[in-house]
Amino acid sequence: MSALDWIVLGAALVGFIAYGAWRGRGSHGLESYVLADRALPWGMVALSVMATQASATTFLATPGQAYVDGLRFVQFYFGLPLAMVALSVTLVPLFHRLHVYTAYEYLERRFDGNTRTLTAVLFLVQRGLAAGITIFAPALILSVLLGWNLHATCLALGAVVVAYTAAGGARAVGHSHTLQFLIILGAMAVAFALTVLRLPHGVGFGDAVGLAGHLGKLHAVDTHFDPTSRYTLWSGLIGGFFLQMSYFGTDQSQVGRYLTGRSIAHSKMGLLANGLVKVPMQFAILFLGVMVFAFHQLEPPALWADPVTAAHVARVATGDWRALETRWRDATGARAEAARDRVGAARAHDAAALAAADAALDASVQRCAAVRADAAALIRARDPHANPSDTNYIFLGFVLAHLPAGVIGLVLAAIFAAAMNSISSELNALSSTTVVDVLRRLPSWPGGERAELIASRVATMLWAALAVGFAENASRLGSLVEAVNLLGSLFYGTILGIFLTAFYCRHVGGRAVFTAALIGEAAVLACFKLTTVSFLWYNVVGCLGVIGVALALEPIVGRRGAATARA
């Protein structure tokens, strides 16, 4: 990195922390700390909701996901706009009128304290682990970039975020999100424009699109109904709808964001703005990955995008790795030549030349894939604990190698901003759920605004410590963007099922739904361990499982509970 990049990155980080600390000053009680006095306008709510969901993983791993797997990951988000509309009609007005701090408070009034506690604990486990991944992603950048110790880097990042989050609470979080998300969008737009401008001489945007399209990277929508296929139109619309309903309707890191709206209308508008922006934004980020892919067809990349793993294997298996690198240079050279021939043939509208170039390109792509497979096998053979995927390093590697000074610092600042956005929301939600749904309900809790504020700040710091601990092991999870969503899918369906039962099955009581939640969660974990069903469907299994079992159990345990109560 150049001095200019360091200046840009350093100034951005200092600015983020100072702005968050300044805007968060004066938090004087739980409502102020947890919900920013419920006073934010819809624009700020919208940016905060978007910033919370779009973590560093989104900007770091999503382009790499598109590079490897094409645009089809966009289907994952198709259920989101549907969920935004459904939540605006149902849960948002309800939460506002109940004047709750957390979503789980509602469950005690509807069912009982046990159901509230179970749901809050499921959230705390899931979100506490996810916060670890959120910290790990940008820490990975620094460790690779600067050769820092990954564990120390995770710790440092957690400490930086906790500095203003613990002090300023939701107000610091909401205001920081607005500034940081605008910088993120600007940085990604600059990166996209420069990626296109850096294409080799004589190759334009349309040529790159044609090249990526021929190699299958523009397959955005798969209409086949296959539960074992990870991303299809149906898994996105149905599974994605359940996942997003659960995430935005029952995950306190999001509920806490839109409850900061100054009225029901401002909260609803914030969510609907997210529904309008999210799919096009994800499409643009994925398309950036496709452009990087097209660029690398013409300008060969390194054999393995993770430089630390590559250097380790090159050290312990020097001869084998060198042989692979030689094969890689030959294969990617042939691929670049075929790609240029294809661009020329397409521009000349020469069908015969285009067919010949396509055949040569396909053959060289297969050769490249074979070399990569051999490299992955060698890495696994030499180090069984090494990450078998370099997806997360692809975009970063491209930025460092090909974007100009200053822009590298800007992109890194954006990735840091994204990490800070998500981590701060998660810590704020974990802290508020711990205090409101667990500590305040203890018989020995002393009470008082001062005690609540201190407990919230201490909880923020403790959750940050736990998240950092989990981050230490996140490198073994493969693609980060998939890992974080898989983790959410293990719990979200059950939580959503509890809420939908509360909302629509009015005759079902606490005993039935509590038992159903345990059975539903067991079913989801069984799907995860014992089947090949794609993770998006876990949300459907958990949700419908809880509702179905609760409806079946209510005539049995509900009647028994009433009899016990009468006795």
């Binding site: 819809w42 198709f78 509309v85 007005p93 009128r97 955005a220 929508v221 798969d222 209308a265 529904g275």
Partner: protein, 72 residues
């Protein structure tokens, strides 16, 4: 439990905004009030805004399908 939670009324208790905060959801009270919500900042009516979100989703899916088929 904290003794400082008077801001959450008991189940069924009336509140200043005309809704029983502790009332079970789905009893129509909150749905009735949602009809009286203030209008959205854009589009005039909530139903138009919901339609806008859904139509944009349909357009995105259609564009994705077109892109997929164009390069199949």
């Amino acid at each position: 439990m904290s003794g400082e939670r008077p801001r959450v009324p008991a189940r069924g208790e009336a509140t200043g905004d005309g809704v029983a905060r502790g009332a079970p959801p789905g009893d129509g009270a909150h749905l009735a009030e949602s009809r009286a919500d203030e209008p959205p900042p854009i589009a005039g009516r909530w139903s138009r805004l919901y339609a806008l979100v859904l139509i944009e989703l349909a357009v995105c899916i259609a564009l994705g399908l077109w892109l997929t088929r164009a390069f199949r």
